[in-house]
């Protein structure tokens, strides 16, 4: 049988233009694996937006990361002060993975 490990599943929703900056932060938190997907539209109390590739300034991406508790803690610490000014959305959930040593 295979063994599963408890890890964190982190989602960061951010402007696509800021993805490289976020990846720098991931690396600072010793995280070396991530996946990015585009978000097409969304809404906030201020209004709604659609992805628009012409300006590039109003398109958002979701960064998905699986990491252990320690790296998650470190990343959250790096992100927390930026959440408001950068308009990030950060969620942290629990998942089980198989090859635990990879994360």
């Amino acid at each position: 049988m295979f063994k599963t490990y408890k890890r964190k599943r982190i989602e960061i929703l951010t402007d696509s233009a800021l993805v490289p900056r976020m990846i720098d932060l991931l690396k600072q938190a010793d995280i070396t694996g991530w996946s990015v997907t585009r978000i097409d539209s969304g809404g906030t109390p201020d209004g709604e937006w659609q992805r628009d590739d012409i300006t590039g300034a109003s398109s958002k991406s979701m960064i998905l990361i699986v990491a252990n508790d320690q790296k998650t803690e470190k990343l959250t610490g790096l992100l927390a002060p930026l959440l408001d000014s950068y308009r990030l959305l950060l969620t942290i959930g629990n998942v089980e993975v198989v090859r635990g040593d990879r994360f």
């Binding site: 590039g56 300034a57 930026l82």
Partner: protein, 322 residues
């Protein structure tokens, strides 16, 4: 010239897109298609400009126009910044970000102006494409310096991207690279080398511009509908700044001896606000600035204003004083 402009299909497609979004139609241009058209248009104008310069050679006019363009790019954000800060009541971060947009240029405004001036027999010189490419980035630097000077006291939690990063980003910006690259290819290839690829870049040009402006109309109107931060003062500035900058541009162009078409084009470049290079750069360099302010002013107000009024206006002015 304004009524003539308003019956050109290029402009009518812009109006169609604008109205469609205003009545909340679900008409939408796939973004990959819009981006593709934008790349096509930049490659086409870059090539054409380069081919023209290959035949005319580097003239003194070209040098003066380039110098004037770069100077405008560096200086126009300064009065804009003070207007935005004191009349517009924006913070220094947002003022710097918006000012950078108005110092830079809008490619599609340039292309539309070129088409309309050509139809009025005052086509600008080919090198104006190069001037436009050179005007894309200086304002970014001025805008950032202004924004940072204004917020010296308050240090952001993490340092914004380092200056070297930023300069790299600014000079390797996709649209700048494509415009200057295609310009260089046009110069190397010359009229003969351009011949075999000319069909695509000439036959489709105006038609693609129509469909692209249809999309810009949709984007402009949707920006306006979705914005909530827009104050009356900002609306006033989004019309005032292009008028001011445009007059400065036409006057400077005429002063350095450009033909009326090129002077008018320098005017519309000064009047136009960036919607490609600068928003992306600002989002990276000043993530704390509110993108909905600069995008709404630039795309929602100034862009339509220039397309409908600015282009014929500066064309007329340049012809009168030229």
């Amino acid at each position: 010239m304004i009524t003539e402009t308003l019956t050109s299909p290029v402009i009518l497609f812009f109006i169609l897109g604008f109205l469609a979004a205003m009545v909340r139609s679900d008409l939408a241009i796939p973004e990959a298609f819009a981006k593709a058209m934008s790349i096509y248009l930049m490659a086409a104008i870059g090539l054409k400009g380069g081919v023209e310069v290959a035949s005319t050679g580097f003239t003194a006019d070209l040098g003066w126009a380039a110098f004037a363009g770069i100077t405008l790019g560096f200086l126009l954000p300064i009065p804009a910044f003070y207007l935005l800060r004191h009349f517009g009541k924006l913070g220094s971060l947002d003022s710097g970000a918006v000012a950078a947009h108005y110092g830079s240029v809008s490619v599609v405004t340039f292309v539309t102006a070129t088409e309309i001036f050509a139809a009025r027999n005052i086509a600008p010189e080919g090198y104006m494409v190069g001037v436009m490419a050179l005007m894309e980035t200086p304002a970014i630097i001025t805008g950032l310096l202004l924004a940072r000077a204004g917020m010296k006291q308050s240090t952001p939690a993490t340092a914004p991207s380092s200056t070297s990063n930023l300069l790299h980003e600014v000079f390797t910006n996709g649209s700048v690279v494509l415009l200057l690259g295609a310009f260089a290819i046009g110069m190397v290839a010359g009229a003969d080398g351009f011949q075999p690829i000319k069909p695509l870049f000439e036959v489709g040009f105006r038609g693609v511009l129509c469909l692209f402006l249809l999309d810009m109309g949709l984007i402009a109107a949707r920006r306006l509908l979705q914005s909530r931060q827009l104050t009356v003062r900002l609306v006033v500035l989004a019309v005032l700044m292009p008028v001011m900058n445009g007059f400065v541009g036409v006057a400077l162009g005429t002063l350095i001896g450009l033909d009326p078409g090129s002077a008018a084009t320098l005017g519309i470049l000064a009047a136009s606000a960036s919607y490609i290079a600068v928003p992306a750069a600002m989002r990276m360099a000043l993530p704390e600035a509110d993108p909905s302010i600069y995008l709404t002013m630039s795309l929602g107000i100034t862009f339509p204003f220039n397309i409908l009024i600015g282009i014929p206006l500066f064309g007329n002015v340049a012809q009168m004083i030229g």
